[in-house]
Structure formats: C-alpha cells, structure tokens
Assembly symmetry: D2
C-alpha cells in the first residue's frame, strides 16, 4: 500500500519547522555562504513515475558531494576491477577530508565518498574521457532528462580559490602514484563536479537509477548491472554521510548521500528516491532538516531496508 505522499510531506514539513536555526549554512566559500538558510524543498520520485514535491523542490542548488555518487557510478561502469584497487570500501571513521587515514594507507583512500576517494574517482574519469566535464553532465542529463543542468562557474571558481585542503589531498595521493593525471587537471574537474546545480526533483529523478537496480525508469536504459547498483547502494549506506554514516543508518536506514550545499538524497530499493534541500548543516556537514525529514519519512511510512 502506497502512503498518501502529499499529506505525508505536508505533515513532515510542518513537524520539522522547529529545526530551522539549529544548523549553519556552509561558509567555507562565499558562493555557498550567501544561500538563504530558510530554503526548504522535498521531492519524491517513484520508479513507477509518480512525482511529489513540496516547497523549493524545483529550485536548483549546489549538489556538492552528491556529485560523488554520479562520478562513482560512471567510473564503476568503466573499471569494474581496478577501481577497487585504487579506492577502498570501508567507512572512514574520520572526518571527510582527513589526511590521516590516507597517510596510513599510503595514498589509497578508504572509500570513494571521502574527498580523497572522490579525487581518485575523478582521476579515473580523466583517463577515460577526452572531455570529462562534458561527460559528467551528459551522464546527469541521461539520468534526469534535463539537458540544461550545468556547472555553476562562480561556485567552481570559489571552490578552487579556497580549495587548499583538496589540493593537499590531491598532491599527497599523487605523491603515492594513485593520481595519474596532473593534479591541476583533476582538481579542475573535481571543483566543477561539486558546483553542479540541480533541484530536489532532479536529484530524486537521477537517483531512481539506484532504486531501480541500474535501469533509468523513464527510458528503460540499463546503465549499471543489478549487482553494480546494489553495491553502490551498499556504499551509500555505509559511507554516504561522512563520519555520521553509522548514525544515519541507525536512525534512517536508507542508502543515500548528502552534500554541504544542504542536499540529501536517499532511496528505497525497488520503490523510490527522495531528495531534501535545507542549507543549514550540523557539525558533521549534513543538513539538519534533511536528516530529520528522512527519519520521519521512514518512521511514518515504515519503509526501510531493515
């Protein structure tokens, strides 16, 4: 029995209102700091084609780390084996840009969703595509059917200008031979992928690929094997929320990915994808209201993978 999603979303939106003001908008770059903290949207897309949305669900924002799921899916299509020799699968247990584990593990990032791992994944895309930036957008256009999704050049420039930690990571990985292209080229693509602007609706639509076992529902195009899709979901569950992944799995119990732009997308395999946007972040870099919304969603619908 499908829940009455419109009623449910209104109920959730009403309930989580009290959480406004409890987090902080990302301010490490000016382009993100100026986003109004009261933005709030939810979108649900089911694999059967139903769509529900609320609030600012159609407004685009910076997807930031959510882009790591797209590039990982692209790299997984291209490198089924070598990928997992160059990046691990274990939760990091450390903040998302930690140099520490990287050093212990000699340039092999713990998983593809910490920044270090995402840089290696991006490096793999540079090895396979003459125009990696165009290829990433193409992939997202295929998933969403929205061909005007673009990089936000102002955000990308701002990321680069203040991107010393990522430059440190990339140089360190390069020193261990696990980045094959030039550091500059990898960082350029990486800063761009973080700057992609998408709406909740577009994110939910795109993530149906993972809810639908590797097939884009709208076009029935298979982009990942069922096994690949299942494995990406496993990584999202165990590593998708920085060092709060365990807490998220405990409280929500869905595979998903968050970004410091305030977006969170999660999926229920075989059913749907749900995206939330609210720019105020908790101390782990995850959207305060986003997590609350997903907790309520699983509690009220009883939908859970566990």
């Amino acid at each position: 029995m499908t829940p009455n999603f419109p009623t449910l979303l209104r109920e959730i939106a009403e309930a989580v209102k009290s959480e406004f003001g409890k987090g902080k908008v990302a301010n490490y770059i000016p382009a993100l700091a100026k986003v109004p903290p009261n933005k709030f949207g939810i979108a649900i897309e089911t694999i059967r084609g139903e769509q529900y949305h609320l609030g600012d669900a159609m407004e685009r924002f910076s997807i930031q780390s959510i882009s790591k799921v797209f590039t990982l899916a692209m790299a997984f299509r291209l490198e089924r084996k070598n990928l997992w020799k160059r990046v691990g699968l274990e939760p990091s247990g450390n903040p998302f840009n930690s140099l520490i584990q990287l050093e212990y593990e000699r340039g092999i990032p713990r998983n593809p969703f910490i920044n270090a791992g995402a840089l290696v994944v991006t490096d793999i895309l540079l090895e396979h595509f003459a125009g990696p930036k165009a290829a990433i957008l193409d992939f997202i256009h295929t998933l969403t059917g929205q061909n005007d999704i673009q990089y936000d050049e102002e955000v990308a420039r701002s990321e680069r200008e203040f991107g010393y930690t990522n430059a440190a990571l990339a140089n360190f990985i390069k020193s261990h031979g696990n980045i094959h292209n030039s550091v500059e080229a990898v960082l350029d693509v990486y800063f761009h992928q973080c700057s992609i602007a998408m709406s909740c609706q577009e994110l939910a639509r795109a993530f149906l690929l993972f809810a639908n076992h590797g097939v884009v529902p709208a076009t029935q195009e298979r982009l990942l094997t069922s096994s690949q899709s299942k494995r990406l979901n496993a990584i999202m569950l165990t590593c998708g929320f920085y060092d709060e992944a365990g807490e998220f799995a405990f409280a929500v119990g869905l595979p998903g990915k968050s970004g410091v732009g305030g977006g969170i997308v999660a999926i229920i395999p075989g059913e749907l994808a749900i995206a939330v946007w609210s720019p105020e972040l908790n101390e782990h870099g995850n959207s305060v209201l986003g997590i609350k919304v997903l907790e309520m969603f699983t509690t009220l619908t009883g939908m859970s993978i566990f």
Copy 2:
C-alpha cells in the same frame, strides 16, 4: 517465490570447497586452535518455520563475537537512551581491538561490536542483572528454545588466561569512567559470553528475532520493538564484520555478525536467517568460507536489502 534451498545449499557447498586451506584457524587461545579446520555447516531458518541445514550445522562451536549481538539486544531493551551515550554507532575503520580510537574518543567506544564497545555493553548488563551470566543464557534459551546451550568453561578460562588485550581495553575504559563495575567482574562475564557454544541451526534460529522485526517467530513473543530491531540490523550491517564491514556490505549486502570461532550469521529482514560455520579465518578475523557462502547465497537467490 522461495528458492529451492536444499539444492541451493548443496550447490554452494560444492562451489566453496576450493576455498578450504585459504585461511587460518584462530590460534590466540589453545581451546580454539584445536578445532578441525575442515568443519563446515550451513543452516537456514525462515520466519515461517522452514529449516534447512547441511554438513556440520548441528554441531556446536564457540560463537565468540556473535555473542555481542545478543548482549547488545539485551542492553537495548534495558537502556534505550543511555546506551548510546556510552557507546557510539559509527564503524570503527580500525581493527577490532584497537586502543587508538578509544583513546581519541576518551573511553567512548566507537560501536558496540568492537571489543571495547562490547565490554561497555556487558558492564550495562552487570548493572541490571544480579546474575548476568544466567541472564545471558536465559535470553539465548528464549530465542532458540534450546535450554542446554551453555558456556564452555575451558574456552572461558583460556580467554581469561590470554586476555591481556581485553584487560587493557577494560582498564582503559574504566580509567575514563565508562565501566561502572569492577574490571574483573566485567571481564569474567565477557570471557564467558564469548565461550558460548551454539550450532549453526541454533544461531540461525536465534537471529530470526532480528529478521522478524523483534518478535520470536516460534513463540510470537516480542522482545524488541520494530524500531529497535531495525536499528540493530543497521548496526550489524555497518559494524558487524570488524574492519571488513564495508567490504561485506558491498559483496553480500546483508546485516550480520561474525566471530573468530568461524561462525557468521546474517539475516534477510522479513524472510530468514542463515548461519555458516567454517573455522578458517581471513586476515580480518572473518570466516573465509562463511563470507563466500553468503556472497553466493545473495547472488544466486537475488535476495538483498539493496
């Protein structure tokens, strides 16, 4: 559609034969080192009461860390809030008896399935039960209906004799005030719980509690709320396999728990529990054949939470 489990188990058993000899029987205590490496059993129990077994599935062995799931379930029933102030929920990203994260985090173990966390959970049981050792067996008797499941005193004695690392952990946690009983008393219960001897069949039966959302299928007794059961499953998925949890989630995709006695139990929520025993361990302390069996099981049945 239910798969033909007897055929499937035979097929899997045949296929994994080639893995014998690739791991090493745990040898940190003599009582475990003498277990024949070629022991091999599989048991499946479904929540509808079907039972399947193969090989040494009825022979009891040392459940070791699998006991941590039972004590955690008991503690969760007693302490819904305080439990998670004294032990974390995040995957550890470090080997299972690491003192390092414990030190960084000032005596709060990362999760209840690393030894440090299990010691705190055991300490909680000592606070609630006058006879904690009897209480643990009672709980397991309730789950399995097998009242002759017992501690193996020789194993418990051996654990204690060589248990310097656990003594180090317990003393360190005590120094931070997160063990409330005497170190000796906590270690005594802990070494005993590790020594419990159960068969694959009994383990599968016991874990139906978690597959059946908190209710013992045979008696319809509710021991955990649906939410508690779901949350325990999430912890098993993210933390159940030492520092190989991510790899296990990636390759198998089921909540479960392994022990250095060579046992692994996993569940498919709403469906069944499956237990495997093969004493040869990989470098992470997980049963080589056990993991292989579960990988094949999910691949061949298509059963997965993702």
Copy 3:
C-alpha cells in the same frame, strides 16, 4: 667561576613567587591531592661536595616519575643491549600515558620515561632481582647515603586503586610479549617506585651520579660507565619532560626529569645537580615553579650544555 649560590637561590625564589596559583596540584589520587600547594624547596649539590638549599628542601615528597631515572639506570647496568630492543629512545610527541604510539609500535614503548617504557624497565628489574622493591631502595640508598628513604605505602596503595591506565598499558604490552613477569607483579613494583618519598636535597645528591659521569662523588663508587651516564643524560634531555621535553630543552637546556609530585631534578654535567619542589603542575604535568626556577638558574648563571 662559581656563582654565589645562596644569593642566587634567594633571588630566584623571590622572583618566582608570582607563579604560585598558576598550576594545579595532582589530584588523580587522594594521597597526592592533599599536599599543600605552597610547598617550595630548592637544593643544589655539586660534585665537589658543596650543598645549598632553600625553603622546604629537606622535606620528603612523592618522587613519582623521577623514579624512572633510577630504575632505568639499574636496568642499563644489567642489560646493555637487550634493554634497547625492548624500549625505544625517541621522544614520544604524545602525552605521557598514551596508548596510541604503543599500539602503532606493537608493544615497544617509544622511550623509557613514558609510563609504558617505565613498566618494561621495571619488568626487567623483576627478571634480575628476587626482591626488586628492596633492590630499588638499595640503589637509592647507595646514591644518597640516606638509608631511611622508603616507599610511602599509602601512596602506593592509592596508585594501585586508581591505576587503571597503567593497568591498561601493562596488559597491552603483555599482550605483545614485552612484559615477561605477571602484570600484577610488575604493577606492584611500579606503583611502589612511584611512591618513594625523597627530599630535594636527596634528589640532588642522587642525581650527582649523572653529573659526575657515573661515579658517586661521596664514595667514588663507579655505578655506570662514562658512556652510560652520558647516554642517560641524553635521554633525560630529549624525553624527561613528557610532551614538553622540546620546550624544556629550548628554555632550560639541561638534562632532567620531572614527576607529578611536583619535583624536578636537572644536572649540569661535570658540575652539579639541582632539585626543585613545588606541587602545582602545568597542563603537561610539570611543576610550574620548578620549570621557572630552572629557566632562571640557567639564565642567571649562564650554565648550559649548549
């Protein structure tokens, strides 16, 4: 030219008065917490037999970690080679009871002045002496000529009662095979050595051994080779002040050792030993006034090894 020490000591005592109240008396055990914070003594003994003292220089207090120098000297006499296979020589760069480096380095403590290293040194004494507690006192009696220097049993009992961190360290080292006697026996001797009560005068007298290149000046008895004495001085300079060793070398520039009882002893090779007692400690566990006194002493006398 010898400075006028009596005048100098009065000048220093006057100048450091303003430091009272800036530190905290050690309170991890009740027996130490009750020491009056305003105790203050200085003693100088030269290798030519001159003696100078001021304030509470004749009152005994708990020497705590200063005892590590005595046990190290004893062990060095017995084990010239094996000693340095079981304990390192490098500054720890971490607080004095850190489990972290111990874990990285598989039970080989970084140096003999962190607690872990001192436990291994004590274990060596247990291997060589049937009565290690008597042997330690004998050694100190030989150095000082004061045969009534004793263990403070109340302090030793208190150390044991709250000694969870040291018990953790000893168990962890034992788990790596680097403690050969029983953990209990090693801890018993260790907690006793920390409890030894000596005055500034007696400490300065005892440390003349290291100022005088291995020979007790009063008796002309050679207890260490010149090379051993030189090497112990090097360890004191690089490791004698917990994680403040570099700062101490920078500001004072003398080999020395401090204890949480508020004592500090330092030497000028070929010249003298100076001991200070003031129980208020800084955040690194070193006496606030003790360090200040030694800074002024080297500044005003120009005496320095550099």
Copy 4:
C-alpha cells in the same frame, strides 16, 4: 687538551670504510640519484680558526634539509615571539614529512625541522624579504665568506617536479591559515633552499655561528644573541635528525642537522663544528657513514655536551 685532529680523522676514515654499501643514495629526484655513493669528506673548523679536512671535504653537494637551520636562524632574528606561535618545539616522533601530526595540531607544525615546519619558516622569510632567495644566499655568504655559494637550479627544478608531498603539506598548512604567502611562492623558495650546494668545509664554517654562541668567529659579527644560539642548538639536538633524533642524541650527543644529500653537521658549543658528507642514507634519511663518523668522533675525543 686539543686532540690531534689530522690523525684522528684518518683513523676514523679508516674505521668507517666498512660501512660503505650499507645505505642507499636518495633517489626521489634524479638530480640526487646520480651522486656517486662513494663520495666521502670530513671537515672540522674550530672557533679559534683551525681547519682540518679529509677526502671530498672541499666538494660541494646538495645541503637539502641542512638549509632549514639557516632559514630558522634568519627567521629567529626577525620574529622572536611570533615564530614560536606558528611552529612548535617538540620532537615529532614521526617521519619527517608526516601529515598526521600536522592534522592533529591544526596546521601548526611540531617543530621547524620537519618539512611542514620549514615551510612555515620559509613563509616568514617571504614576509620579511622582498627577495627571499637572495637574502638566504646573503646570510650563508656572511657565515662562510664564500660568495659563490649558489642554488643548484637543476636540483631545484627536480625538487619541484616531484615535490607532491611538500605541495600537499603547504596546501594543508595554507588551509589552516598558517602560510600567509601563496603556496607557489613558498614552495619556490623552499625548493631552492634545499638545492643550495656547499662543501663540508663551508658547512662547518657556517655552523661555527652556533658553536660560538651567535657570533661569526672570522668577522666577530654577532648575528644571534647568546640565548638564541643556545636555543637553536637545543632544537638541533632534539629535532635535527628526523625520527632518529633520540637515537642520535643517545649515540652522539651533539646538536646537529642532517640532509638527504648525505651531509651532517654537528657542533661542540664553545669549541668547533664538524661536517661529514657521505651520500648513502639509512632508512631514516640520515647518512650512514656520517652518523658513524660522529659517533667515533665523540667516543675518541671524549667531547660531548653530556
């Protein structure tokens, strides 16, 4: 009594011959890898103007990390207080280019002789000098009287080309705000300072500044206060030999500094400076023969600060 240095040097040179072939020439950049491994020189300069040399003592080689002493001395002249807020004084206890301690300590390097610390020191020079590269050479010309000491542009270029680890460090420190100039500008000066080519004789001459309490003996020019000179010596003793500093202090007992070009310089305060060159390095990056020579030198002369 002054030893007969010419005889002594011949004796030492003969004795250490057997160590050839036990280490490896630095090969992280091609420009260093091509240095013949059998190069070997020793030079002694006393503060009274005596000079002794042996073997390749007049041939210039890449001083590498020895340059850190010169830049630190320059920075200490300029920033007596702020310097020690931006870089620590404690031995690192970790390999010389470790990112780990840097991360724990939020961009404040542990000491000025690990690469991270030297980068901050270089950044300070960029803040004070319009032409920092010329200023560094000027300082060395002043110390040595040799105005043709120069950067080796081939080495500098090679350092830059393979300098990913240093680029990682600089970016990471910049991300914490402890580098004030552009990362590129700091790295350019840093890679140049490492490339400076000097002979043993020139190095010994230059280090007389530190043996002579801050005054250049040849010109009687005071460049450092006596206190500054003493403090630099203390840092050399505790931090001058990467993670082998404790071992060096134990075995040799002199303040000094080594570089991966195979040079080592040490001083005896109030007496002399001694420089050795032999390109084969041990696993810590210190010259195998260099350390052996200094060990024998202190043993045979009895000269030691302890």
